[in-house]
């Protein structure tokens, strides 16, 4: 019987073989595309918004599904094998909710649980932010910043042999002189000639002030519920992140108001509910006072935003309009967001008053659903046509 078996065992070099990683790269690309298409939904994703914005959390995103006709795993019966003493009624596992997503998910179950696809590709929140901001078309704002906040700073940048006497760099001049004398054999300071002189020259540098302050105002009257607060929070989260990529320093001032306004902490801003009526002008007046006290417009880019559900005291609206005009004189833009869960009849009294304002710096949007947060962001930041 001829022996056909191979007696050697192959042991080649596979280090250049990249097929698996190459296809995985394509998979990652497709995930990024899918993310881009779904930014509207991801932007208001709870696990991002409700996090502490400082930490970089990983946002779990499902990998691309491979669709096929398959049975619903939750229905029907399946087989398994036990240790030897299983009884009818034994619980052999708990079904993890399909929505179970958490930051930093650990390794999933191996092999023996069919059906649920636990694999999740991850994209860090910075990458996500980059995607979003790229989509928002941000450079428009820089134009404004340059115009408003140039400040001149003087810096000595060069040392030359010619210049004016007030700019004489004495130390270097002395050094040069000693060097020259030493070269002749006699190191000492004396006999300064023109060649020894050194002058500092200066350049006028334009340094851009890179500070921004967001004045976040929110209506905390009884009519603002959890949903409204959540929408406002989503919005502020992304706005602050965006501004942080553009400015060195971003401060946020929180003002909450009902019939009166006061400055609060972030915690109180997002969590404390009030009751009572709504008088928006109080908030705007407080904002103006704070700007006058602490944030001179020459040094700060100011972004006031106000979120409300629109039910203002009717006689207050005209005052609000004039206050808004005063604010806009000092700020980069003024944003107003009206949050209405489901459309309730006619536009609010406040929005109808604002409809009279036609200024490029003024932007108003209505948000009635999580999905509209992203378009609202886009509107605030993207539609600022830069004059050629």
């Amino acid at each position: 019987m001829t022996d056909l078996s191979f007696t050697a065992i192959g042991h080649d070099d596979w280090s250049l073989h990249r097929k698996g990683p190459a296809d995985q790269q394509r998979h990652q690309q497709k995930i990024k595309e899918a993310v881009r298409k779904n930014l509207g939904q991801i932007v208001s994703e709870e696990s991002i918004i409700l996090s502490d914005g400082q930490k970089t959390i990983k946002v779990p995103i499902r990998s691309l599904d491979e669709y096929r006709f398959r049975f619903d795993h939750s229905s029907g019966q399946h087989t398994g094998a036990g240790d030897g003493d299983s009884q009818v009624g034994d619980v052999i596992g708990r079904a993890g909710g399909r929505k179970a997503r958490g930051a930093g998910r650990g390794p999933g179950e191996a092999g023996d649980s069919p059906g649920d696809d636990y694999y999740e590709a991850e994209i860090s929140i910075d990458e996500l932010a980059a995607l979003i901001f790229a989509d928002l078309g941000l450079p428009n704002l820089e134009e404004k910043r340059q115009q408003e906040l140039e400040s001149e700073a003087v810096q000595f940048v060069d040392v030359r042999r010619t210049g004016i006497l007030p700019n004489l760099d004495k130390r270097r001049t002395i050094l040069e002189n000693i060097k020259r004398n030493a070269a002749k054999g006699d190191p000492h300071f004396g006999g300064v000639i023109r060649d020894d002189l050194r002058f500092k020259t200066w350049d006028q540098r334009v340094e851009y002030q890179s500070n921004a302050v967001v004045i976040a105002m929110m209506d905390t009257s009884g009519s603002m519920g959890e949903f409204e607060k959540y929408i406002a929070r989503s919005f502020y989260f992304w706005m602050v992140r965006f501004l942080r990529t553009k400015y060195q320093q971003v401060r946020i001032v929180f003002i909450s108001h009902h019939t009166e306004a006061k400055e609060v902490t972030e915690q109180e801003f997002f969590h404390r509910g009030e009751s009572g009526g709504t008088q928006v002008s109080a908030a705007y007046e407080l904002a103006l006072r704070i700007i006058a006290d602490r944030f001179p417009p020459s040094d700060w880019n100011i972004y006031p935003f106000h979120f409300s559900d629109g039910d203002n005291l009717p006689w207050d609206n005209d005052l609000c309009v004039s206050l808004v005009r005063r604010l806009m004189e000092q700020c980069n833009l003024f944003g107003y967001g009206e949050i209405r869960e489901g459309y309730r009849g006619a536009t609010s009294t406040l929005m109808s008053a604002f409809n009279k304002i036609h200024e490029p710096k003024f932007m108003a949007v209505t948000i009635s659903d999580k999905k509209e947060v992203y378009p609202a962001l886009k509107k605030f930041f993207h539609d600022r046509a830069v004059p050629a």
Partner: protein, 475 residues
């Protein structure tokens, strides 16, 4: 693995072959390769080296590799049904681990060579797959990678729906010519008036006439092979698209016997790797390592069937029962000591379904503590331990490879070339969101509106997709 180890392994290879032969195995010549873990996982994800590129393979590769990196699972062996066969060993495994893998692989290649369900597989598949990949690359070059990828996405979504028995379908029987009596006397037809045969013939003629008037049904009988049907009959497909459908079908067809015989094949290989390794001269440390490894491989799983476990136990049970036949078996003519012969018969004739139906006994179900479980609320609960129900449940799970049976019922629905698919519901509902998305892929291939009739929660439901949006209606 360094060179002295490789040399030791090669020496062991010769020994293992000899022992395998002594046990009566007759494996195909097998080329073994030591590869790094990443490559092993890649082949695991693709199934065959050299297959066309697709992101789903990348995803599978990444997932398996991640599980390996986290120490959660390990592929030990990868063997390809071909002639000569190829087998891959992880070069980060110990020598003993690879010895076990070699023994296990020889069991597999023996099985591939002799089992009836593999009789017609393409043993040059590695080469075929490479040619397929080249063609697809050419299409990508001609038509753009995105276009080809989108089409591949659709083709792969329905790749499970092929009919491996298509080649055995006989030509449709020609209608039997009605029997004619000998036209002897001129009055012969009078004798036939009360005759049953005549009555039947007249009725046949009537129905045939009625059928001729009615529009012909296309397809004449429901078609289970979606890929082939679409490749041949989808209107408006370019040749390259039909080719891709046929390529996907051919590659899936190649894997079908392996899917059909998972339990019996793994059982066969595990049965022999244990016996072969016991014949080798192992050190004490190696013996312990082997015992651990073996135990891990054939351990039972709580929520699914481990084919290694079930297969080995079944085969051992068969050997025992045929070596010491009970009175009933003896009455059937089984001779004592015929265990080995019986096993070889099983290796040749059985697939998983037949193995379970024929050889899974009440005693075995109880000894292995097999059960059926289902979801109630948020928990998975055992609901059945009766052996016949458990066996039937196992068989059910494996029918049609665990995939729902979808057939083409009518390719000219509403006389406007709409495709009407039917899900043959046999007790388990489809996963609705997946069904909708997959139907969208079918529509992409068919080009015209498509429908899928199924049953959800005991209601007849019709999914539809017309190219722009999906719909669901009650029937």
């Amino acid at each position: 693995m360094d060179d002295p180890d490789v040399a030791a392994l090669e020496a062991a290879l010769g020994e293992i072959w000899a022992i395998a032969r002594r046990f009566g195995l007759d494996p195909t010549p097998t080329q073994f390769e030591l590869v790094p873990a990443a490559i092993m996982y890649e082949f695991g994800a693709y199934g065959l080296p050299g297959r066309f590129a697709h992101w789903s393979f990348g995803k599978g590769y990444y997932r398996m590799k991640t599980q390996y990196d986290y120490g959660l699972s390990k592929i030990y062996e990868m063997v390809i049904n071909a002639n000569p066969a190829y087998a891959f060993l992880m070069d980060s495994n110990s020598v003993l681990q690879n010895k076990l893998v070699i023994a296990h692989v020889l069991g597999h290649t023996d099985f591939f060579k002799h089992n009836a369900y593999f009789a017609r597989t393409n043993r040059g598949m590695v080469e075929s797959v490479r040619l397929h990949a080249e063609r697809i690359r050419q299409y990508e070059f001609d038509h753009g990678t995105d276009t080809v990828e989108r089409f591949l996405d659709a083709a792969l979504a329905i790749q499970d729906h092929i009919d491996p028995h298509l080649r055995f379908a006989a030509a449709p029987p020609t209608p039997a010519a009605p029997p004619r009596t000998n036209p002897g006397s001129p009055y012969a037809d009078l004798w036939e008036l009360g005759d049953e045969a005549t009555a039947a013939r007249d009725q046949d003629a009537a129905t045939r006439q009625a059928q001729a008037l009615a529009p012909a049904r296309f397809p004449a009988a429901p078609e289970a092979d979606l890929l082939r049907f679409l490749a041949q009959h989808a209107p408006d497909l370019a040749l390259w698209q039909r080719d891709i459908l046929e390529i996907v079908r051919a590659e899936m067809l190649y894997f079908v016997p392996q899917m059909q015989t998972k339990i019996v094949n793994e059982g066969w290989a595990s049965f022999h790797h244990a016996r072969i390794l016991r014949e080798l001269d192992l050190t004490d440390a190696e013996t312990v390592e082997f015992a651990n490894l073996n135990a891990g491989v054939i351990a039972p799983h709580r929520r699914s069937i481990n084919p290694y476990h079930l297969g080995v136990k079944l085969l051992e049970d068969i050997e025992r029962r045929w070596d010491q036949p009970s009175p009933e078996l003896q009455a059937r003519g089984i001779q004592p000591g015929s265990g080995r012969a019986k096993l070889f018969e099983v290796r040749e004739l059985e697939n998983d379904l037949s193995l379970l139906r024929n050889y899974l006994t009440k005693a075995l179900v109880e000894e292995l503590d097999l059960y059926l479980y289902e979801r109630q609320g948020n928990e998975w609960i055992i609901v059945e331990k009766n052996w016949e129900k458990v066996r039937d449940g196992l068989v059910d799970e494996m029918t049609n490879f665990g995939n729902p049976l979808i057939v083409v019922d009518n390719a000219d629905h509403r006389r406007s070339r709409e495709l009407y698919l039917v899900h043959r519901h046999e007790g388990r509902d489809l996963d609705p969101p997946y069904a909708e998305k997959t139907l969208a892929y079918v529509q992409q291939i068919w080009g015209r509106p498509v429908h899928l009739e199924t049953v959800l929660n005991s209601d007849r439901v019709l999914f539809s997709h017309d190219g722009t949006k999906a719909a669901r209606t009650e029937l």
